[in-house]
């Protein structure tokens, strides 16, 4: 064996280790806590907490290419990130504001989640009597399932220390753009002049919308599990003033539900929150289809 002639694999090993180092450096710069195939960081939108005023923090997930985490309703498999907050007295965490998810998976197994990166904004409230305190620590333990081909559960502790002042805070220059971008990815409230209807048949829910224009593209993401079949067909019928979208019921839905909640995505990436009472079963009507 000759030692002076390295095997042909050597240059590749050099290139790969350089690439690996570059990746490490990128992650080191992000200063996030490690999670499987990525990092997690807790960031604040403003420079300090103004006593008596609400404020926002966010969980920023950065994942290696192709890996994903899940929406609040993960779909057929998977699990959403679960957060346990450790907060000082006087600060309360609200619910995660979930951005519009993507459909992931195959024809027969459909999941809802986020590939590569996602920022989950969490609104916080601060009591007025916080003013007397010094800086406070906002901490969270996050359990997260990260998947691509296979799934790896992870757990991370993240924290953030913020001063408390009586006056309102300017934006944090480092994170303000990230918050603005994350807000654009949230579903919005539907315009007040749009009219929706929801009826059911034995095996389907039928969501109708009158939006004042023909709708040729619509996908519904059910917020709660086991109501709508994730892999089932969503049949869109455009009408002159909107659409009718038939959603197959989940096989796991054995009792009637009072309301159906979810996110309706229309063309142009516009997404709207839907929360509709389920109407009385109706015979298929052609009234709206003209």
């Amino acid at each position: 064996m000759s030692w002076h002639k390295p095997p042909a694999i050597f240059p590749w090993a050099l290139v790969l280790s350089a690439a690996a180092l570059a990746l490490c450096a990128r992650h080191a710069e992000a200063a996030g806590a490690p999670i499987p195939h990525g990092t997690l960081e807790l960031v604040a939108e403003k420079q300090w907490i103004a006593a008596g005023h609400p404020f926002n923090v966010a969980l920023q997930f950065e994942l290696e290419k192709g890996w994903h985490v899940y929406w609040v309703n993960p779909g057929d498999s998977g699990e959403p990130p679960r957060v346990t907050w450790d907060l000082p007295a006087g600060i309360t965490a609200g619910d995660i504001e979930w951005p519009v998810p993507r459909r992931l998976g195959t024809a027969s197994i459909v999941d809802y989640g986020y590939e590569d990166a996602v920022m989950l904004i969490v609104p916080m409230s601060a009591e007025a009597n916080l003013a007397a305190q010094g800086p406070v620590q906002i901490a969270a333990e996050v359990k997260v399932l990260v998947c691509r081909e296979m799934c790896i559960p992870g757990k991370a502790q993240v924290s953030l220390t913020l001063p408390v002042k009586p006056q309102t805070s300017p934006l944090n220059a480092k994170s303000a753009d990230l918050f603005a971008a994350a807000r654009k990815a949230l579903p919005r409230a539907a315009p007040a002049n749009w009219k929706f209807g929801l009826s059911e048949t034995t095996d389907s829910f039928v969501l109708t919308g009158k939006l004042g224009r023909r709708i040729r593209y619509a996908i519904f993401f059910p917020l709660d599990e086991s109501q709508v079949s994730n892999a089932g067909p969503q049949t869109l019928v455009p009408t002159a003033s909107g659409f009718s979208l038939t959603l197959r019921k989940s096989d796991q839905l054995l009792k009637p539900i009072a309301r159906l909640k979810g996110v309706l995505v229309l063309s142009g990436e516009r997404a709207y929150s839907i929360d509709m009472p389920v109407g009385k079963p109706v015979a298929a009507s052609t009234k709206g289809a003209g």
Binding site: S77, E79, R82, G105, L145
Partner: protein, 211 residues
């Protein structure tokens, strides 16, 4: 065009349509409906037919040894405990391996036998389903998805193993086990209170799976 050519084309078209819609017409297993019949080769080299178990309760357990949700049940000893508890009461328990070759959880018969010995698992048999045929027949979405079939051959439970959809071993002791609950209620002549749930876990790694 000759008339015979026309008819043979028409017949071809009709046959094609029937063939391409056939998989959609094969209804997947549903609670309250007959369990789809299957014949499978197990890791012990024997052939098992569902029809031979008419008159017994049957449990199907979708398995993938690399899935952390499956790991939670096996590393805690819970799955083995359930297998022993119910097979000792005459229940047939089949572990079903639907991972395609090259995918996570795919095993050869000898791999599986080594795993069963190492984990001290005690199913009636571990069925090898690398084509995913049984998995698709039951529309199995996840490991560990669980199905319970009654002695009349009707599906009485389809869904999660328990009510704690996590990978935490600490969640096993406090969980309500839906499989045991379904078997206990059915054996006592009662209706199964929770016959269908979301089968949490890892997606079944069929040949077309990309996640």
């Amino acid at each position: 065009m000759k008339r015979s050519t026309f008819y043979s084309m028409l017949i071809g078209l009709i046959l094609g349509l029937i063939l391409c819609t056939a998989p959609l017409l094969l209804a997947a297993a549903k609670v309250g409906e007959p369990a789809p019949a299957f014949t499978a080769t197990a890791s012990d080299g024997k052939t098992y037919k569902l029809a031979d178990y008419r008159g017994k309760y049957v449990v199907l357990e979708w398995h993938n040894n690399g899935c952390p949700y499956v790991g939670k049940q096996y590393n805690s000893g819970n799955m083995q405990k359930l297998q022993k508890q119910w097979t000792s009461q005459g229940v047939a328990w089949f572990t079903v391996l639907s991972s395609a070759p090259g995918k996570q959880g795919f095993v050869t018969a000898s791999d599986e036998n080594a795993y069963l010995a190492k984990m001290q698992a005690a199913p009636t048999a571990a069925l090898l389903d690398p084509s995913g045929e049984i998995g698709h027949m039951y529309d199995a979405k996840t490991s560990p998805q669980m199905v319970v079939i009654n002695p009349q051959g009707v599906v009485i439970y389809d869904g999660a193993i328990d009510d704690k959809p996590t990978t935490d071993l600490a969640d096993v002791p406090g969980a309500t086990n839906y499989v045991s609950l379904a078997l206990e209620q059915a054996m006592a002549g009662k209706p199964v209170a929770t016959p269908a749930t979301r089968p949490y876990g890892c997606s079944v790694k069929y040949s077309d799976s990309s996640h």
